[in-house]
């Protein structure tokens, strides 16, 4: 008798959510998380990204990293659309707590409340949190 997971062939499409909680600089999490998303795009899964806590800063317009000698990788978020990564969710509370609004972000996103985002997370098959 086959187990349920053995019936999933190579054509399986799962809901993958990448949860970004950290500021873009200071640690490497945001940059390496983005690298995962770009690679994952080739696997044709149902991909979404969520930005919360300091992770909302990753999408802030007008990033200038000259002073810290690091590469400004924020333009990459604009390229996500080309990889068919179009579902970007930003937590409303995290934006508000940091004095930010949707207009401060460099890509179109869907802003949603903490509870709605929690429900969305509940619907996912795989959550990768960085």
């Amino acid at each position: 008798m086959s187990e349920p997971w053995e019936e999933e062939g190579p054509g399986t499409i799962k809901k993958f959510m990448y949860v970004n909680r950290k500021a873009p600089y200071g640690t490497i999490y945001a940059l390496e998380s983005l690298e995962v998303v770009l690679i994952a795009a080739a696997f044709e899964q149902d991909v979404s990204m969520a930005f919360l806590d300091d992770g909302v800063y990753q999408l802030k317009k007008g990033q200038d990293t000259q002073g810290i000698g690091m590469k400004n990788f924020s333009p990459t978020y604009r390229a996500l659309e080309g990889y068919d990564v179009e579902k970007l969710y930003v937590e409303a509370e995290s934006l508000a707590e940091r004095g930010l609004s949707e207009d401060d972000l460099l890509v179109p996103v869907e802003v949603m409340g903490r509870e709605a985002l929690a429900e969305l997370m509940d619907e996912q098959d795989v959550i990768l949190s960085f």
Partner: protein, 130 residues
């Protein structure tokens, strides 16, 4: 159940890799399948055989190697993260013109696709990180 594990933090610095190991051991003891452990971010440092922790402490790398040998667990180190942090196997050392390699037994270096594949194949992908 079929499990995948993602380890995002380095050994000794952070408890994530200890907890991941203990979780892995517990699920194997219960008769579950461990499809793969993927090491990302500083987690790749779990796979260096050059670490020499104090003798009265646990040896995290040796512990993973022994698990791989005993249970045939697939320990995969992300190549992009490894290159940044100086983790090399024989092939990579040759390709990059380095004078040695430091990967521990039971570990192998491969791409991020291995992480996504674990997400697709496994019933649960459990992330251990900060």
């Amino acid at each position: 159940m079929k499990y995948g594990i993602l380890v995002n933090e380095g050994p000794y610095q952070h408890q994530a890799s200890d907890t991941a190991y203990q979780f892995a051991q517990a699920l194997l003891d219960k008769g579950h399948e461990l499809f793969r452990v993927f090491f990302y971010h500083d987690g790749v440092n779990n796979g260096t055989r050059f670490a020499v922790p104090p003798q009265d402490d646990r040896n995290i790398t040796v512990r993973w190697s022994e698990m791989a040998e005993k249970h045939g667990v697939d320990l995969v180190i992300c190549i992009a993260a490894a290159q940044r942090r100086g983790l090399l196997d024989e092939g990579e050392a040759k390709r990059q013109g380095k004078d040695g390699n430091n990967i521990a037994p039971g570990f192998r270096i491969s791409g991020l696709g291995q992480l996504i594949e674990a997400g697709i194949q496994c019933d649960r992908l459990v992330v251990f990180g900060d």
